[in-house]
């Protein structure tokens, strides 16, 4: 697979997943603003934006949050921006992805215009989640499990681990008590699965465990880190030069085992730092993958004779 195409696929995976999770996160945030009677809205908003790594100066209104994270087309953190970017990447990798996946991304991009700022955000978020599901469903049904699939999945699992970490950070936003654990589980579509697995009412520690380290649920952090690790080893295959990819796996594995082998109470007491660690591991892994697979191995030096 061409390096350039692999990079596009990796980013399609990341962008679509980011759109999906941003929609979930905004949905729960707007809900919290409505339900929390003692909420200090501007600081809760500002805190949310800093969780999403796009802080604004001054008081932040609900409209600012929606613009930054939902509708702004030129930003890599907003839903509209990520969906457009996913489509642009798909256009560059058009000959590798299937027609169905391309058309779903292309029509999603075109339909974005219908969702103006005035429409009810909740419906927009539902639509975004649906479109992401359509893209994943089609790509899962029409892609060979070769490198094309691996790179897209790799991007997706890294992004998902990263975004769940951000979502858990909203537990400790300033100016509000934040969403309760039942809401968080619902946001991750994990409530039913949690109830079936734990067979008990939602308690903080069990819920956190479920979203952090459950080995079977596809929206737990450890599950996605583990998935990224195993995809990396599949991409590597039997290659000799494994230094950089190995380091990517190292970063992911360290983050995962830290979650798995620490007492859950310790993590909860220090949730923000711990979640930052997860994000840092994902970013490191992403950089390593870029250096190993997407960039030319060395800058080419050439002269007339060598050509």
């Amino acid at each position: 697979m061409l390096s350039r195409i692999a990079e596009s696929l990796f980013w399609i995976g990341r962008y679509v997943e980011r759109a999906d999770n941003t929609a979930r996160l905004l949905d729960v945030h707007l809900n919290v603003l409505l339900e929390d009677p003692w909420v200090d809205e501007p600081s809760a908003n500002a805190s949310l934006l800093s969780v999403m790594s796009c802080p604004l100066d001054g008081p932040v209104s609900r409209g600012d949050v929606l613009r930054q994270l939902a509708f702004e087309e030129d930003s890599a953190t907003s839903i509209a921006g990520t969906l457009a970017a996913a489509r642009e990447n798909a256009r560059r990798a058009r000959e590798v992805i299937s027609t169905e996946v391309w058309e779903s991304l292309n029509t999603t991009r075109m339909d974005l215009r219908r969702w103006s700022r005035a429409s009810r955000p909740h419906e927009y978020f539902v639509w975004v989640r649906e479109r992401a599901a359509v893209v994943w469903g089609l790509s899962s049904a029409t892609t060979s499990r070769d490198d094309a699939w691996h790179f897209m999945e790799l991007g997706r699992s890294l992004e998902r681990a990263d975004m769940i970490a951000r979502l858990l950070m909203t537990r400790s936003l300033e100016g509000t008590t934040g969403p309760n654990w039942t809401t968080l589980l619902r946001t991750c579509s994990a409530h039913e699965a949690y109830l079936r697995t734990v067979r008990a009412l939602v308690t903080e520690e069990r819920a956190a465990e479920f979203l952090l380290i459950d080995r079977l649920f596809p929206r737990s952090i450890a599950y996605n880190l583990d998935r990224a690790e195993s995809i990396l080893s599949q991409i590597e295959g039997s290659e000799s030069n494994r230094a950089l990819a190995g380091r990517a796996r190292l970063a992911l594995g360290r983050a995962r085992t830290n979650l798995e082998y620490s007492p859950v109470r310790d993590i909860l007491d220090d949730l923000v730092t711990q979640m930052h660690e997860v994000q840092r591991a994902c970013a490191t892994a992403s950089d390593m993958i870029r250096d190993r697979y997407f960039l030319p191995s060395a800058t080419i030096t050439w002269n007339q004779e060598a050509l």
Binding site: I5, A6, M110
Partner: protein, 541 residues
């Protein structure tokens, strides 16, 4: 025209001065269009518009677009197909094929020993002054002798219905992707007509192209790695590049994906470097190799030309082909066909004045307001001045240009391009069209894609049909296709797939064939015998 009082989409359709392909001057429908006419006649106007809208929507969803001034636009496809009868195609197809063979022979000659100059057919000055004649590729011998792997010969039909060649494109002709996607969209829109009319299929284009690229691989490469080289996603024909790569099942690369080491070309993959054998390039000569051509180009890869010269990679179409589709060289094409092929040209040229000749220049400058003046190296309708529609100032400007650079311009009479019914805001109206049939040369044979790209000028009276000038396209139906029954033997294209492998004939001796048949008969007899035996056993027990 309408048989009842109810208006149909055809009510009010009247051909203009040009040759109308659907209807003659008395208003009766020409044969090839009979079925299309009847089908549309049964529809209401609204039905036709709603189908047209559905067509536009599928194109948007599929992303069938072209880039114009940095913006992605859907490529306008008209709902009314253009129909070409099989008798007309029997002129066009051999005519195009003959033309390509002559161009091929001419290019081999120009970059070889230049017999045509020594024999006085073409002046040496003409070749030497051509902007696209590259001495740097003289003596580069393509692997199977093919330089024009893909060509698009632009045809027009004049007032009398005669097909004429308007220009040759043997560098990087584009537009074939719209032929393929137009067909797919139209067959969904008019399934009834497709069943009944026997339209020749176009889908085998990609297979043919792949086979012909595989055959031109460097000596000794059995299973060549083919790539399509695109300038990138901002190129106006990017959709086409990706479609061709996708339907041929090959990689679509950009210049930065390629690197040249020791005269060999590689592409960068996630699993390291991989050798490239054949490059179907869609990058212009000038940008292909910064070592030889424009040093500021980042669209190509340094060292490509050297690798081609060493015979380690085949570049298709060959570099330097532009010398043959120079518009001034075009005027010599009929002579060149006679010279190289010893045949009379099947398709005539459009009359053209060579402005280097003093008499011709004088006549043209006199009659500038009734002629079309074109730059010899232009494409996309740029720089074309249509005399009758130009203002005084424009004409003066053209006059000055011609006087200062006579080699740079040609003049032609205004040709009233033929018209085909086209859906406009005012209903069906005649609009001017041209036709670009595509030909693939695999070294043994020149195959012409049945149909080709029909471009249509969407504004009334407009004679320039290029998509960059607001033109659209039509699906082009060539009649006379024979439907293959499932029981018949596989069509020849099924065997084309492995054409590049140059299979070793299994029967080298005529007697082998006879022997083989006898062996088959023997086997059949044995099988029958066995079956009879079995049946006998069953009956006996």
């Amino acid at each position: 025209m309408a048989s009842t009082d109810d208006p149909t989409p055809w009510t009010g359709y009247t051909p203009v001065a040009a040759w109308d392909e659907a209807m003659d001057v008395e208003g009766s429908v020409r044969d090839p269009y009979a079925r299309v006419y009847a089908e549309i006649d049964r529809m209401s106007g609204d039905d036709l518009y709603s189908r047209a809208e559905a067509l536009a929507n599928t194109y948007l969803a599929q992303g069938v677009t072209f880039d114009h001034a940095g913006e992605e636009r859907p490529f306008p496809l008209d709902i009314v197909p253009r129909v070409i009868g099989s008798d007309e195609w029997d002129i066009i197809s051999p005519g195009v094929s003959q033309r390509v063979q002559a161009l091929e022979a001419f290019l081999a000659d120009v970059y070889g020993s230049q017999h045509c100059v020594q024999d006085g057919v073409v002046p040496r000055r003409l070749i030497a002054t051509s902007q696209y004649f590259y001495r740097s590729v003289a003596g580069v011998e393509p692997a199977n002798g093919v330089r024009v792997h893909v060509s698009g010969i632009d045809l027009v039909r004049d007032q009398h219905g005669i097909w004429r060649v308007l220009e040759d494109n043997v560098r990087v002709p584009s537009g074939v992707s719209y032929v393929l996607s137009n067909r797919r969209a139209m067959s969904q829109m008019f399934p009834e007509m497709f069943g009944a009319m026997g339209i020749r299929p176009v889908l085998e284009y990609s297979r043919r192209l792949r086979a012909s690229l595989a055959r031109c691989a460097p000596e000794g490469v059995d299973d060549p790695t083919i790539v399509v080289l695109t300038p990138g996603v901002y190129n106006s024909a990017y959709y086409e590049h990706s479609l061709l790569a996708r339907t041929m099942g090959v990689e679509l690369v950009e210049g930065r994906d390629l690197e040249t080491v020791n005269g060999r070309v590689y592409m960068r993959t996630t699993a390291g470097r991989r050798r490239v054998d054949v490059i179907y390039r869609r990058v212009d000569d000038d940008y292909l190799d910064p070592v030889v051509f424009r040093p500021d180009s980042s669209l190509g890869a340094p060292g490509l030309i050297n690798a081609a010269r060493l015979g380690n990679v085949t570049i298709a179409n060959a570099v330097g082909n532009g010398v043959a589709d120079d518009k001034l060289m075009y005027t010599y094409m009929p002579d060149l066909i006679r010279y190289y092929l010893n045949e009379e040209p099947i398709l005539p040229n459009v009359d053209t004045w060579r402005l280097e000749e003093a008499d011709a220049r004088e006549e043209v400058l006199d009659r500038l307001d009734e002629l079309v003046v074109k730059p010899v190296d232009g494409a996309g309708g740029k720089g074309v001045t249509i005399g009758p529609k130009a203002s005084r100032e424009e004409l003066d400007q053209v006059k000055a240009q011609i006087t200062s650079d006579p080699r740079g311009w040609i003049a032609q009479p205004v040709i009233q391009l033929s018209t085909v019914p086209t859906l406009t805001d005012e209903g069906l109206e005649p609009r001017h069209v041209d036709l670009r049939p595509f030909a693939i040369n695999d070294g043994d044979d020149v195959w012409v894609l049945p149909g080709g790209l029909t471009r249509v000028a969407l504004q009334r009276g407009q004679l320039i049909v290029n998509s960059s000038q607001g033109g659209g396209s039509k699906d082009t139906w060539v009649l006379g296709g024979v439907r293959h029954r499932a029981s018949s033997q596989p069509p020849p294209e099924a065997r084309v797939e492995f054409g590049g492998l140059a299979s070793v004939p299994q029967t080298a001796h005529p007697e082998d064939y006879v022997a083989g048949q006898q062996q088959q008969q023997q086997q059949q007899q044995q099988q029958q015998q066995q079956q009879q035996d079995l049946a006998g056993e069953e009956a006996s027990c």
